[in-house]
Symmetry: C2
Subunit: 479 residues, 2 copies
Amino acid sequence: MAKDKKMVESITSMSEDFAQWYTDVVKKAELCDYASVKGCMVIKPAGFAIWENIQKELDRRFKETGVENVYMPIFIPESLLQKEKDHVEGFAPEVAWVTHGGMEPLQERMCVRPTSETLFCDFYAKDIHSYRDLPRVYNQWCSVVRWEKTTRPFLRSREFLWQEGHTAHATAEEAEARTQQMLNLYADFCEEVLAIPVVRGQKTDKEKFAGAEATYTIEALMHDGKALQSGTSHNFGDGFAKAFEIQYTDKDNSLKYVHQTSWGMSTRIIGALIMVHGDDNGLVLPPRIAPVQIMIVPVQQQKEGVLAKAQELKERLMKAGFSVKVDDSDKSPGWKFADCEMRGIPLRIEIGPKDMENNQAVFVRRDNHEKTFISLDELETKTGEMLDTIQQALLDKAKAHLASHTYEAVCWDEFVDTINNKPGFVKAMWCGCQECEDKIKEVTGATSRCMPFAQENLSDKCICCGKPAKKMVYWGRAY
Amino acid sequence: MAKDKKMVESITSMSEDFAQWYTDVVKKAELCDYASVKGCMVIKPAGFAIWENIQKELDRRFKETGVENVYMPIFIPESLLQKEKDHVEGFAPEVAWVTHGGMEPLQERMCVRPTSETLFCDFYAKDIHSYRDLPRVYNQWCSVVRWEKTTRPFLRSREFLWQEGHTAHATAEEAEARTQQMLNLYADFCEEVLAIPVVRGQKTDKEKFAGAEATYTIEALMHDGKALQSGTSHNFGDGFAKAFEIQYTDKDNSLKYVHQTSWGMSTRIIGALIMVHGDDNGLVLPPRIAPVQIMIVPVQQQKEGVLAKAQELKERLMKAGFSVKVDDSDKSPGWKFADCEMRGIPLRIEIGPKDMENNQAVFVRRDNHEKTFISLDELETKTGEMLDTIQQALLDKAKAHLASHTYEAVCWDEFVDTINNKPGFVKAMWCGCQECEDKIKEVTGATSRCMPFAQENLSDKCICCGKPAKKMVYWGRAY
């Protein structure tokens, strides 16, 4: 009973304390929990089922573009990590070091992979010989470890799950095309499946990946106006190839370096799902990613035939390809309604004796609580339509939020005022110098999120130093 | 070209050197490769695709029994590993220790999980309160690390991939039922999907899992007559529950300990696939697990219409639900045939100008090289029938091999003679004392593989000491 009560306790409201609201949703929707291992998560069934759906859909899209899955070792010997200078500088301060195997000290310590560029490069150096061996378009699903100081469930933890793609190509053009292809794949996935609109663009040199020539990113805007980097794709040029001696014999018999890319999306994206769609009643999941799309709640279930009818509807909907459950527990309908809301189940179907008399059911949308009476003759088609409607409504709402929280600034005072008072993105011109980027961060706490592919010319001058502008940048505070 | 040549080089024959044959198949079928990290594997696309199929099918079967997937941390603090006495003794000598995070030494060192009982127990202790919370039937897919001294691809490596299920139940009976259910699930999966017959039974106390009350196992017999433990399921009783204080309030308000199980299957099983079905031409994959079931090889592909026809057949077979590829490379048909054989593709379909004239194709089975001419009007149905026939033939052959390599012995001399001269299982009676088990291992190198569920009474006396026999045991040398 104590547990039942806990479930219907309301959560902190978003407007009162957004960070606490987030923690409450993660906990009450039973997505994940803290582990005894500091900074690590236990991803619970409801959370992991979301990740499984993300994996399934991303993996399908990857394979359509020729990606093959592999598995590389979990450990990186220190000497291997150190082969590419920028890369080791970026990662060495935040890795976990293994120093003993069994009872004995290791001759060379190894880190638990924070990312696997060095392992793929080491493998490619041995495995690629001829132009016939190219391209290599490999990916792995695994966990990685980064020794973060402050952690938050899904958003920043010492271990997280992700996929990391690592490719090798004969030419710079091919590598660039693959880098962009994967960024667009991520962006399309976010919009089409997660109902999260994103800004596509390039990271500045300051913000790019350690060892990359160019990093592309998709940036999403959370409900509180903070940005979340949701997926990245890196073009390494031949920098790693030179450090690791990855060469191939071309058709003309000349020896050439390969060109490489890597790209990743992680369990962080579950944090984005929560913070883009959630509300004061809990989680809100888009139908295309929800592990349970429909919860059928019997009303007056002790009455004859109600539970049987609920089961019948479930069977019909399952047969039609929907993911559906019946809540036939001994809780009250009110408790069940609140529970469905907390867990973000997109559609609730209520069925009671009166509905049965009228050959109908009550559809209740999670996103706007709208109620509709549906004839049972049209159960399957109306369910499909309703889920499509919800999916589209969530995307529209998130798009509207992104648009209404994206501002422009053309002078320093306006910029600082906007950043400080209007949560969201601020578009502003930039000269391209890191000094200005550093100053903006120092004064406002905002970072350059990306130089969007869709450039606009807001003015000719850098917002910070007044020198000629080179790029329009999205600035914002970020998770 | 160097690479082409390498591919058609023949491999070491099984009869000449089975261990070298195994290594050759793993390498030439491009299943996996050694990594720069000693004792760790790089699982290549052809190997990982097999693992993906294993995962997909096992996961589906798990979920049908109510299993939910979760993810636990990769690290176990030393104090947590030490909570259950037998367990820590079994695993502490072979774990990898993390001692530093970033630049700083850790206050308490952690091991990389060798198995996750302690993490699940730690979680269940916090998460289970009432009988309403039971049963918990969780599973995770992950990698684990055991610091082995000698390693072989798939069979024994310092890191391997597996699934580990961990359950908590209200009663001892429920836990026992789940332990057996999962063992039978593994056995059925091996026989129905991998075409590997197994012996189901219980491990002796000497061979059981560290911390378990009972360990059940499935044992398969490799082509060379050595056994391979292919999956295990453990009943922990309330031993871990007492060590970790995992208690629940029962309906009568009394506080009780839960009863637990765990069960796992790993990438080792790919080693079994290779060593049960492979032959001197390379890998042989059962159709139900093969990532590519059919390779279409165009003959005289430069002739008009041949490649188009091959593509047409591919489209038809894909539409019918088969996994199929066309080898339209510039290699010779002979090279392609050998390549298909090496990779273990169950069915090869050859199509050339003459076949096209006759509206036919040539079907060649991987398992027995049998050729059949098939009318293209019956392409889909004949393909389905042929794959079923191959699947059944592989199972029948493996069953016959298991039967013909399982011996009985009723006295010590006969036992030693059989073990030493006839590779395979030897069934023999045992008194139940570890001294006899130790002596048998010392003298013959064979270990007790299991006490089969299907007991027979071969004699009344222990093969070793002559005292009254308690159990019939399968003995054998093992991987």
